[in-house]
Amino acid sequence: MAVETQVEMPMARAMTSRERRWRSWPQTPSLVFLVVLIVVLCVTTPGFATAANLRGVIEQVAVVAIVALAVNQVVLAGEIDVSTGSLVAICSFVYGNVALSQGGAWLPLCAALIAGGAIGAVNGVLSTYGRVPSIVATVGTQFILRGIVLLAGGAQVLNLAVDSRSFGAGAPLGIPTSIVVLAAIFLAMQWLSSHTTFGRDIYAVGGNSRAALATGLPIHRIRLLTFVLSGVSCGLAAAVLLGQIGQLQATAATGLELKVIAAIVLGGTRITGGRGSNVSPVIGAVLVGVILNALTLNRVSGAYELLVLGALILAAVSFEGVRQRLSGERN
């Protein structure tokens, strides 16, 4: 999973190859931090280390983590997608309306996935062949999509039938469905990254797009496909979100895009692309979930939530900056 091929340097103290790989992992700092935090919380906070609580934490971050896993690929390819909040909203609108007219869960899911993928493709075409920088293109589509959802959905709040909620509610195998969906997406992305040419190409394009172009990689097509992936994941996240809350609202998932980016960055993926792993967005999302949960369990007022979260993100990114300067990765 070590994603960057690094030049092996002769070292004074012999490091085992495993140790060296550990150190080169982009997600190692955040993983260590998460483990330490969990250990501390297990000791200090009663009620944290129960299965029900931990399950609740992961269920809560599932939507963000699902989207983050796909947007992570976009970021790895050197682009960014900040339209995901509105994308999830419009996909849940599609999902909800198909579910209300046709019932069931699979047909609405297909519709949401297709809608998400199509809009993702538009984002991708604009950002690659259209040469609109992706941050601008996706800010634009974010506005447009939210406008459409608000116009079409407006103030209506629609309740979904139980059989249409199966992706976010219930636990048929003893594990909540949203966690199963998250795990499936994680495995799919892991397979994509380590066993497909496309997955490897994403790193190549993000690491050095000119070198990738010189090698003959179709960099536009690869980036476009990551945007499609991001859109499809929003369709899936919409199904999970609707299953969890059971209601269709036009303002759903407002502000999700920045939570997603925060999870990716917290987990250790480099925002300019080429370095990161599929574990990163999951760790980032879970870290945020654990912290919010710890605050709730310790009865800290909700007014301090964002402050703690902001300080944490800042600490994490500065730690990464200091580490990179000290280790001489950049100067």
Binding site: I135, G140, A303, L307
Partner: protein, 319 residues
């Protein structure tokens, strides 16, 4: 350069001219479609809605020209507003509270700049963190409450107009637009911003103190957010932690619509002013015409994408 290229460059309309024509056409069209819209009072009064975002957009232009970005401006506006309101409630004289608000704005911008330059972190990452942090502090200080009992005179920044016609904040915006336009186009500092945005490494090797220049750009933006925070708090006469929510993306949209390249190195303050005017009067016209404001979101997004698409096409034609 061949004669045809120079001719084409001469006759090809500048981006600012295109935007100006677009703006006039837009206002004229709203005027035709919505009877009674075109009155000097109404047109000037609309500036109350955009002076704040406009001020922030001026600073954002400097940051983006230098190849940076600032996502924290909406949160910083909330922090400034809360600082003013709650330090006033705690017994500080209002004048001192306003000064504290400005200082918090400047400090917030300065902090962004220092984090970006000293740790060499990507500005998107740093300001995403301060985006959460600044609003987090605002929420923690205000605990979800609002302060809205200000003395009468506080209204001068956001509610009064000169001669009953020109809102005070419009004058403020116009003056600062002029100052920043001169700063960007006519001073060594402005040239350094372009140099950094075009090629930071080359700028550093040419002797530009890139870190200091970028810190100044962020701090200046912070000051403008501080000023915008004063005007905002005065206009709605209330200080609350959720002020300016989602403002950052609107501001960036205005700057980019104004022709500033998001990757840095090119852009003008005049362009940004036109970007601000185009998007704000669009919104104002739609609201005045009784159209659902959700349409404004759609048109804003479409304008943004089309503008940048056209920009890219222009750039390729020019070459």
């Amino acid at each position: 350069m061949s004669v045809t290229t120079s001719l084409r460059r001469l006759t090809w309309p500048s981006r600012d001219a295109v935007l100006a024509v677009l703006f006039i056409a837009e206002v004229a069209m709203i005027g035709i479609l919505v009877p009674g819209y075109l009155s000097p009072y109404g047109l000037l009064d609309a500036s109350r809605q955009f002076a704040e975002v406009g001020l922030i957009a001026l600073g954002m232009t400097l940051i983006i020209v230098a190849g940076g970005i600032d996502l924290s401006v909406g949160s910083l506006l909330a922090l400034v507003s809360v600082t003013i309101g709650f330090s006033f409630q705690a017994g500080l004289p209002l004048g001192a509270a306003l000064f504290a608000g400005l200082a918090v704005g400047a400090a917030g911008g300065f902090f962004n700049g220092v984090m970006v330059t000293s740790l060499r972190l990507h500005p998107l990452v740093v300001t995403l963190a301060t985006f959460a942090l600044y609003r987090g502090i605002a929420f923690a200080v205000s605990k979800g409450a609002a302060v809205s009992s200000f003395p009468e005179w506080f209204g001068i920044f956001g509610q009064t107009s000169i001669g009953g016609l020109v809102p005070v904040q419009l004058i403020c915006f116009a003056l600062l637009a002029l100052v920043l336009a001169l700063l960007l186009a006519r001073t060594p500092f402005g040239r350094r911003l372009y140099a950094i945005g075009n090629n930071e490494l080359a700028a550093r090797f040419s002797g530009v103190n890139t870190a200091l220049t970028r810190i100044i750009a962020y701090t200046l933006t912070g000051c403008l957010v501080g000023l915008a925070g004063i005007i905002y708090t005065s206009r709605i006469s209330s200080a609350r932690g959720n002020a300016g929510y989602g403002l950052e993306l609107t501001v960036i949209a205005m700057v980019v619509l104004g022709g500033t390249r998001i990757t840095g190195g090119s852009g003008t303050v005049l362009g940004t002013v036109l970007g601000v005017l185009i998007l704000s009067y669009l919104q104002d016209g739609l609201t005045y015409g009784g159209v659902r404001s959700d349409w404004a979101l759609i048109v804003t997004g479409a304008f943004l994408i089309v503008a940048v698409l056209l920009n890219e096409i222009f750039r390729r034609v020019r070459r």
